[in-house]
Assembly symmetry: C2
Homo-oligomer: 239 residues x 2
């Protein structure tokens, strides 16, 4: 039991140097950036997994030693308890690593012999395996649309969050981001969630994990921006 308290979903904060770690099933509950009681739900929800002995693909997720565009997949693995190898590399290893990645971009997911690129394709694929995609097509599409919008917001945020520019240069785009992009989205999301527990239905979906993942990261960086939107970000927990 103590294992789950010590293993972080993302390793960059605790300075682990190993490139690859294997997460056994259920060893990594979602501990950081938790939104809307995800943590509690993670523990109390029963996820159907194949019985021991049945065939489950070997999953290996390959990405930088950072959250970024691999983090949603890690949350899905963590939530569902599906075992996987979380292969991480440092920035200076990338030029060499890149040669082994068809298309030259990460994250990629290795599934037995197959390689799947594109973070959202990976997320959707794993979410199907984990029962996190609604069966209703329109609800599944609402999840897709939500996650697309969150990824657009992430892309905009990264432009000034990890910039190679001066504080002065990013001042204006950063201010515009919050007023033009983030606040209108959060206003809609907050209203839509209201007193509801989950975004599309009465069950958790990968859309909810994406909300938790994104606003968790956002809250760590810009907590004052989120105070006005309690339904979107509360009860948030950081451990």
């Amino acid at each position: 039991a103590s294992q789950s308290e010590n293993v972080s979903c993302s390793g960059e904060e605790n300075g682990t140097a190993q490139n690859s770690r294997i997460y056994p099933a259920r060893s990594c509950p979602v501990q950081r950036g938790v939104s809307r009681s995800l943590l509690c739900l993670h523990i109390t929800t029963s996820v159907s997994l194949p019985a021991v002995g049945s065939i489950m693909p070997e999953y290996k997720l390959i990405y930088f030693n950072a959250r970024g565009r691999a983090e949603l997949a890690r949350w899905i693995f963590a939530y569902s308890g599906i075992p996987y190898t979380d292969e991480r590399f440092e920035n200076d290893e990338w030029p060499e690593k890149k040669k082994s990645i068809e298309g030259g971009k990460v994250p990629v997911l290795r599934v037995d012999g197959h390689t799947l690129p594109q973070s959202l394709a990976i997320g959707r694929f794993l979410s199907k395996k984990a029962g996190l995609v609604p069966e209703d097509d329109l609800q599944a599409a609402a999840c897709d649309a939500l996650v697309d919008t969150i990824y657009e917001l992430m892309t905009e945020m990264y432009k000034f969050t990890f910039p190679e520019k001066s504080e002065e240069e990013i001042k204006k785009p950063k201010a515009e981001y919050f007023t033009t992009h983030l606040e209108p989205f959060m206003t809609r999301l907050n209203k839509r969630l209201g007193e509801k527990k989950w975004f599309v239905s009465d069950k958790i979906t990968w859309g909810d994990l994406a909300i938790g993942m994104f606003f968790g990261e956002m809250k760590g960086l810009y907590s004052e921006k989120l105070e006005k939107f309690p339904s979107t970000t509360c009860p948030y927990q950081q451990s």
Copy 2:
């Protein structure tokens, strides 16, 4: 029958001024930007549609009077013969129109009372209805990843294709786009397609429609860039 020859999938070229047109089933074969025999296949493939009298949702696609991010959905409608309303507006109508669109972005798809945003969520939703999503999860994910990559390439291309910048300013990013982004992708795609007819399996998928849609548009704009990649763009037809 003559109707299908006169109706274009996208209306901007023939200068139609009407904002809204209803496409009856099968009136709009894929006529422009056809790749890998899509045109022939469109005509010869039988698509299962609900019998007359059964309940089919009313679809309305809302976008600018342009191809852009609505075009893939129009291809899927055209390919499958599902009837829909193609509501288009001119640039100067957008500020007023925007007020009626939750989220303030287009395209959106109205499905009976529901509104679905995000072009790829719309495309995937319609593709499921049209039988253009593989049943195998990994193949479905390969389609998703392909379409994501094509949309990234479209986003990059639009930066210099419809710019508010001078020819001099876009010269460098445009050159870089072709060498850094487009050619490596087309090399991989060309190799992967080889002598195969379709991208993921022995059946057409929405990934193939996305290839046809994107390279059709690209060929219209930059035909000289595509000559080296016959599997990706041949037999291409423009009518």
